[in-house]
Assembly symmetry: C2
Homo-oligomer: 236 residues x 2
């Protein structure tokens, strides 16, 4: 549905960057700054300082910080200051398990109310993934993976779910730096898992889709090093 269809008689839409509010832009930028390491954990940040640094007023910055606090990335002590939250391995693991559960529910909902046309889009993404797996193109695989999950999120049509998973995905980029790049032997496994999820979607089986999605996210977190392998597995 979101395929490139140029509508006749309508002007071209603005570059997405221009149409967003300053608060939204500040939110994304600050979030990226946190997960990428600048704005280190424990570092103090102030509304006015960031405002002058970003060239905007203090109000949008305040809104951005408030959203970041809801995400758990900063904590503000009233009248005392705002500091970047320290997200240790333990918390990262918790957030990963939360994300796995939510992704599972999203897959279940998507399986129920998926329109027929969307299946073609998933097939296309699977094709991209297969090509990326054979050539070991990590960038392309990452992009396809993003598309895959984002499309499932939006297929649910649930704004709460979409927003929550969007926030949780940010932490994903944070945990990835500890184990850069998946093991080559894990790429085919991820591909099979994605194929299995799409198969469950095509079968309109919410329970199966949820189970497969949740297992996929959990295993992906294990190979990324943010989760320990569950007990009772083969690992020397």
């Amino acid at each position: 549905m979101a395929a490139a269809e140029t509508a006749r008689g309508r002007l071209a839409p603005l570059a997405e960057e221009e149409t967003l509010s300053l608060g939204e832009r500040a939110y994304r930028r600050l979030r990226a700054s946190i997960v990428q390491g600048m704005l280190p954990p424990g570092g103090k940040i102030s509304e006015r300082g960031l405002a002058t640094q970003l060239g905007i007023s203090a109000q949008p910055v305040r809104e951005a910080l408030q959203r970041l606090e809801q995400d758990g990335m900063v904590i503000t002590l009233p009248r005392r200051g705002t500091v970047v939250a320290e997200v240790g391995p333990a918390q990262l693991a918790e957030l990963g398990r939360i994300r796995a559960a939510l992704e599972g529910v999203a897959a279940a909902l998507a399986a129920e109310r998926l329109e027929a046309g969307a299946l073609a889009a998933f097939a296309a993404i699977l094709a991209r993934m297969k090509a990326g797996t054979e050539t070991a193109d990590h960038e392309a695989l990452d992009a396809a993976n993003e598309d895959f999950h984002a499309r499932i999120h939006h297929a649910t049509g649930n704004p709460f779910l979409i927003r929550s998973l969007g926030s949780l995905r940010a932490y994903d980029h944070l945990g990835r730096c500890r184990a850069v790049g998946s093991m080559p032997r894990d790429l085919p496994r991820a591909l099979r898992e994605h194929q299995g999820i799409v198969a469950a979607l095509r079968r309109r089986d919410p329970t199966l889709a949820e189970a497969r999605m949740r297992a996929h996210v959990l295993r992906s977190l294990v190979t990324n090093g943010v989760l320990r392998p569950p007990r009772g597995k083969r690992s020397p």
Copy 2:
């Protein structure tokens, strides 16, 4: 832990109402107004109008509306207005399933990092529940139920989980008006489920706690009428 301990040498804390920011107060008030029926779905609301109505500035109102939008309770069209979102039975069911999944994860995390002293508190809550069940005191049962879940949420220590479940709980009050009061025969079942969850916590079994908690929430949603009974059940 949250039991009434008066700390020596410190002044008595203010009434919670006084220490909260105006934005936080506006958020809670507006959320309550929405779930209770005033501010009907589809109704337009404006920052300035609410500001004068609440006797505060437009800025805290704006923050409150932004949080409400993240919860999915209002949707604001840029430069056009803000309207109360219509939460139909279908969306209510989705949110219920999301809440069930998150409550399950919360129970699992609580089972892992529960300190020994907290078990006594759960035992006390169970006692209150048992008494309320025998006398069919719905108000006391509701209060005990709130305490039960809130304590589990805080036992996880995860701010993201706490905040998300707090937002989702608001919808719970919205769906309850369609089936006022549980069936009398369902009260003992709820009690048994709560006891089973506490038993899993005491056993430090995350998997069991999650399964029981999730099943409990789902069944509770079924008896409240927001969720249809799963296929393959005895119901004429």
